[in-house]
């Protein structure tokens, strides 16, 4: 145990304060608010302590279940695709060829565009009359044009396409960093032993890349669980509520409807979900990292 006089404590204090103020306090306050009934537009109801009522409501709220399912579908489909595409891009970008620096910058463009702008762009692309999507698919056969954002069966998929386009390069960035940490000598040694490209990939690249892949999965999962802006701009939760992801539902409750208590309950649920998923990933990740750090 180190004493409080240890200078380390003083160096850590600012970061701790920052985290406490901007992360800990909001989380704790959301937890507190989720135990109250508080509706901004009905001030005469006051701020009434209702215990676990909001949570009971949440568990019996079919809209919340539907939102959870929508969010989970979104996470389950987008994250693996994004990480796989990211891996592919990273493998290409890790090779040396002319214009590599340039290509690396270009690949990052979708990720660098503000999401709201990208969402607006995709909304235009998916427009049923002038959208690029229909033109590419059907050309002049306008009678066959689709309206992806108007179809309950297609709207969520359209948003997923936009998300994959936008964030695969972020996954690529993480994987690329992982690739660059793999020592060249291993490949040279493998070549001397007569290993082919596939064998090198399978037995050197992939195992050593696992931490980076898990990290990319972790980041993407948490981000996908919190997807909001794409839905906000592209569909507002419709049609037929099919794109009403959890985070958007919580936003509507808290900010549009002024139901602060119930909205906080949804926020806490999203927080717990990401926490559980993060812990799972960190267990997988941490076990490997810790194992490596053990002194021989």
């Amino acid at each position: 145990m180190k004493s409080a006089k240890d200078p380390a404590w003083r160096f850590l204090a600012p970061s701790f304060l920052f985290v406490a103020l901007f992360s800990l306090y909001p989380i704790i306050d959301s937890l507190r608010l989720s135990l109250y009934r508080m509706i901004l537009t009905l001030p005469w109801l006051g701020q009434k302590f209702v215990g676990w009522d909001n949570y009971q409501d949440l568990f019996s709220d079919p809209v919340a279940y539907q939102s959870l399912l929508t969010s989970m579908t979104f996470v389950a489909l987008t994250t693996p695709i994004e990480v796989l595409l990211g891996l592919g891009m990273a493998l290409v970008l890790n090779e040396s060829f002319g214009g590599r620096g340039w290509l690396r910058a270009v690949v990052l463009v979708p990720w660098a565009i503000p999401t709201v702008v990208a969402s607006q762009m995709w909304r235009f692309i998916f427009n049923d009359r002038y959208g690029l999507f229909n033109f590419v698919l059907f050309g002049d056969a306008t009678d066959r044009y689709w309206a992806p954002l108007a179809e309950p069966g297609l709207a969520l998929m359209s948003i997923m396409v936009a998300d994959v386009w936008k964030t695969s390069s972020f996954a690529a960035l993480i994987v690329l960093a992982g690739l660059q940490g793999i020592p060249r000598e291993l490949y040279e040694a493998a070549s001397i032993d007569g290993a082919g490209a596939w064998q090198k990939f399978r037995h050197i690249t992939l195992p050593l890349l696992k931490p980076a892949l898990l990290l990319a999965l972790l980041f993407r999962t948490i981000d996908a669980l919190k997807v909001f802006d794409l839905v906000f701009v592209m569909t507002q939760g419709g049609p037929a509520d099919t794109t009403n992801v959890l985070q958007f539902y919580g936003y509507k409750k808290s900010f549009a409807e002024g139901m602060i208590g119930y909205g906080s309950t949804i926020a806490v649920a999203v927080f717990l979900l990401s926490l559980i998923l993060s812990l799972l990933y960190i267990r997988l990740l941490g076990a490997r990292l810790l194992a490596k750090e053990q002194p021989a």
């Binding site: 009359r129 009403n244 549009a256 409807e257």
Partner: protein, 430 residues
Amino acid sequence: MVLSVKTSLNVLAAILWCFLIVPEAVGQTQLRFVTWRSEAAAVWQELIAGFEARNPGVKVVLEVGPHSSTEFHDLVTQKLRNRDPEMDVFFMDVIWPGEFAAAGWALPLDEYFSVPQQKEFLKAPIAANRYDGRIFGVPLFVDAGMLYFRKDLLAKYKLAPPRTWPELVDHAKQVLAQERDPYLTGYSAQFKQYEGLICNMMEFVMSNGAALWDEQALKSTIASSRAKEAVRFVRDQIIRTISHRGVLAYQEPESLALFIQGKALFHRNWPYAWEVANDPERSKVAGHVGMMPLPSFPGHKSVATLGGWQLGISRFSRHPRLAWQFVEYMTSREAQKQIALATGRGPARADLYRDAELLAKHPHFGARYDTFVLAEPRPRTPVYLPLSNIMQRYFSSAIAIPDSNIDQLARVADRDMDRVLDLLRERPRP
């Protein structure tokens, strides 16, 4: 690279600046007006300059927010719930006064805005601004749902403008069958899941003699057989038969774009569409557009949803009296006339509909007067937004899913709405 001390200090100073409120110049009062960007921004600037000239030492700061009602609501309520004293005057959609009044955010204006003064305005928007016997906003312009149609296409097939919804569908079927243009759609309106869906569906439901909910009994009436009949009509006759499915993702701009491209026979929109549709620069159908009240179901009266924008004053404003002077000025006869002349939006003052100059520029104002006087406000309540979200979910599911179980969906919406309306019963009687 290590930043030099000087650079770091500069950066720090810049960051601090962002958090500092710029002190008001000595002897100058700032009035902050939160609004969205008007189509006639130049007229607004002129009016504001006029106000500043009359009130030396006053500077009006325009804060321009998003155009969408829902997003603008987020911005204004964010400021109000934080009791931001910087915001003095704000723009208010016609559905908000009840909410803002109940939450204690909008300043009651009775001491400034007397009943005789209120009488100079159209009745419907004044009613929408009253809550619990007090008034919370001054209407600037009003909107009402209107039916636009292609005069040339109807004439080509010798069809009269439709009076009823079944007639409209029938006309559309005939024209679509004979025009054989895969681009052409029968009815272009706002069926995306958002506030505009409520406006559109309310017109169908109420023009079938039904209502969304009962304001007095605090009971939903959305599952009544007439209301369901209207919803079923939209699903089967409008969406499935004469429109293309794209309308299920349309807000006002997309639906209007289709109409002015000449690709829609009928179009439902607010009055601003008239100016756009008849502007040869922007519209391919300029001169071929007719406008009339929306149809109704046989045996019932036509219903137009009342829209429109008001000026409200924040209860947290530091200069309520000055804010009132600004509101009074912006909603004066002269200002409303300027705005109406430039935008074609219907003024909220009744006598402007008989103003010769205005009628000369916009002859349709004369014909439109009835629609504005009769336009139905969406029911006033502080829980409007929760109710709206339930109805948006219901209407969108009912019409976007071709074989939706409307009875079942309506039952769920009805129950959910009653639960929200029950919250109002706990209110202590004043």
